[in-house]
Amino acid sequence: MLAVLSVLPGREARAEESCATCHPNVKTEAVEGVHAKDLSCTDCHGGDPTVVTMESHSVAAGYIGKPSRVDIPALCARCHADPNRMKPFGLATDQYAQYQTSGHGVRLAQGDTKTAVCTDCHGTHRMLPPREPTSPTARRNIPETCGRCHSDQALMGAYKMPADQVEKFRHSVHGIALFDEEHPSAPTCATCHGAHGAIALHVGSISMVCGHCHSRTREYFNEGPHRKAADEGKMSECVSCHGYHDIAHPDRTLFDTTCPSCHPPDSPNFATAQKLKTLLSRADEAVETCAADMTRIARLFPTVAHYYPRLQQAKAHFMEALPVQHSLAVDRVDDLTRSARSIAEDVRASVHGVEQEGQLRYVVLGGAWVFILFTAGVAYLYKKERARASIQQEGAERD
């Protein structure tokens, strides 16, 4: 079969084809795909496109029909692994090589036809590029594409694999970033597991994957005592504390729920965790309180906006402490959180000073108006009195 495939010539220009006469629906699909301009039906299926009868399906003309699942990767690789063919399109040519090392490729080589092949993810005739929002390989659609198999309980049960990864991912911090916030850097299944070289993550390699995005956190983790524990197989690096598909936004309750799974509550290590929790909580509270006060006071006194850069400084110190905590270096976290707290408290005091001064202004204004109205009233009454006295004097003079 491969020999037959290999002698099929690639076309540079499409000739008029008869396939659409009998297969109009397929033709309609194919026209919308990326292959429409450069490939014809016979490039993949073989046969004689010039004949309208069933003779177009003759084996002599190289007709192979619907390629078997086992043959599909090699069929696609005929072009996609050829640098000369892919050069005009700027596409990589290592997909087939990667696929052969992946869990899918290994199983296919063992004869498992239920495993994923190229068409399962990319589609068949209507192949769309990843930049198209409706493409199954568009970033936002990748979990759903993977989920076609990996959410199938019956299919995954045969491999003794769970089928809830996609659902868990959807509600995770990464899923929210991908689906709800449409963050351009949010990871998909392929980001962690690879695309064509998709493999399940093994113990020992997890922080390498997480560290692609969370590089500073990984650096600090490697400096801390958990690195040794992970190397000895006592923990699964990031997964032990944060989970994998269902990673939630980390908050300080993790110190209370996750640390005790390894460290008894009366142990020195647990005490270290609680110390870190306290430091981070206090700094977070100071920054959040300051931000809330600034928002409230800025409505009446916009000049507090001048303090926003200082508040941002406090936030920056706090944010810096978040990856540093993974090294479990209490003194370093203490330094950073103390700076954050100190700046936040300083800004808060200044902002409250503005508020108090502002309130004093209203009191002064009230006093000023009392003075104005009193003085104006006295002046008016004096004028009236003068006028009355003048009239009386004129009357007396007439008399």
Partner: protein, 335 residues
């Protein structure tokens, strides 16, 4: 010498004003007080203001946040300027409708027109000094509009902008105008204006129909008390505005981030609207014609006694000016 000084004081103490004057006759004196307030607050601001593109904006921040009562001085100066221009307009309108520009006060009318133009120029040059986004782009917008006026536009740009694009040089130029040139002009013309009022007094208003002409009343204390009340009330209003409404200050001027749809200050909206509604040359002619007509008003309406139709025409033209100006301003604002 002392006896002559005493005589001068006695003469001033016994100065009289017409009895029929109403509240509108105090506009001129209140305007004078506000002009003095602007000069005072301007001098105080000068102490901390830095006239450079790199420091101007931050010096405003220092005035607002760090100088004791700096926020109040700046607010009084900013809103006081708007109030001063409004009072000047109202004073001009009052003088026009009461025909107080007639002999012997023709020169005073012309001096007043010059003062109004100088005060508006104060406002225009002062806007740029904050060097925030609004200051930069509204001045740039004005430059673009003026450049569309053939011949005259180039002259104005050369005189006021010095031919420069808005930057350090234009800021310094506007600052020099605002604190170095215009104050001398305004003080000189103000002195002349007050001297002429002192010399010729306030024009006696025509008494109400059927009313008899009352004898004049003393300046001190009658007029002075009313003036005090007017200044106190108006000053209180200005203080309230200054405290309740902080003067706006956008982000620092950024030549690379245009602020779209900048509006000029309210008193220049009619001018901008006129320049954008008609072709540059025609608009310039209209404005020059309008100003020239203002100067010629005393010459066109010389006789005190005029037939009724002429009085109606006089009032109609005045009303048309005012309504037209307000209409252009509102239209420009809503654009």
């Amino acid at each position: 010498m002392f006896s002559s000084v005493r005589e001068i004081f006695r003469a001033e103490w016994e100065r009289t004003v017409p009895a029929h004057i109403n509240l509108l006759h105090y506009l001129g004196a209140v305007t004078l007080i506000f002009l003095l307030l602007e000069i005072t607050t301007g001098i105080l601001l000068m102490i901390y203001y830095r006239p450079s593109a790199g420091e101007a904006y931050y010096s405003i921040g220092v005035i607002m946040d760090e100088v004791r009562f700096g926020w109040l001085i700046r607010a009084l100066h900013r809103w006081g300027a708007d109030l001063l221009i409004l009072l000047s307009f109202l004073h001009l309108i009052r003088v026009y409708f009461s025909r107080a520009y007639q002999a012997p006060r023709q020169l005073n009318w012309n001096v007043g027109i010059v003062l109004l133009i100088v005060i508006i120029t104060f406002g225009f040059t002062g806007t740029l000094l904050t060097w925030d986004q609004y200051a930069y782009w509204s001045t740039d917008s004005a430059r673009e509009i003026i450049s569309g006026v053939s011949v005259l536009g180039d002259i104005v740009l050369t005189l006021i902008w010095g031919g420069w694009q808005i930057g350090e040089e234009v800021l310094l130029r506007f600052y020099a105008f605002h604190v170095g040139v215009l104050p001398w002009i305004v003080v000189a013309f103000l002195f002349l204006h007050v001297l002429l009022v002192w010399r010729f007094g306030i024009k006696e208003p025509v008494p109400l129909r059927g009313g008899r002409r009352l004898p004049p009343v003393p300046f001190f204390p009658d007029f002075a008390i009313n003036l005090l009340i007017a200044v106190l009330i108006t000053g209180g209003l200005l203080l309230s505005i200054a405290i309740f409404i902080p003067p706006p200050l956008l982000e620092r001027a950024d030549p690379l981030s245009p602020l779209l749809h900048t509006q000029p200050r309210w008193y220049l909206l009619p001018v901008r609207e006129l320049l954008e509604s008609v072709s540059g040359g025609t608009a310039a002619l209209c404005i020059i014609g309008f100003v020239a007509l203002l100067f010629l008003v005393p010459a066109l309406d010389r006789r005190a006694a005029q037939p009724t139709w002429k009085l109606i025409l006089h009032r109609g033209i005045g009303l048309l000016w005012v309504v037209g100006w307000v209409f252009l301003g509102v239209r420009g604002y809503l654009r």
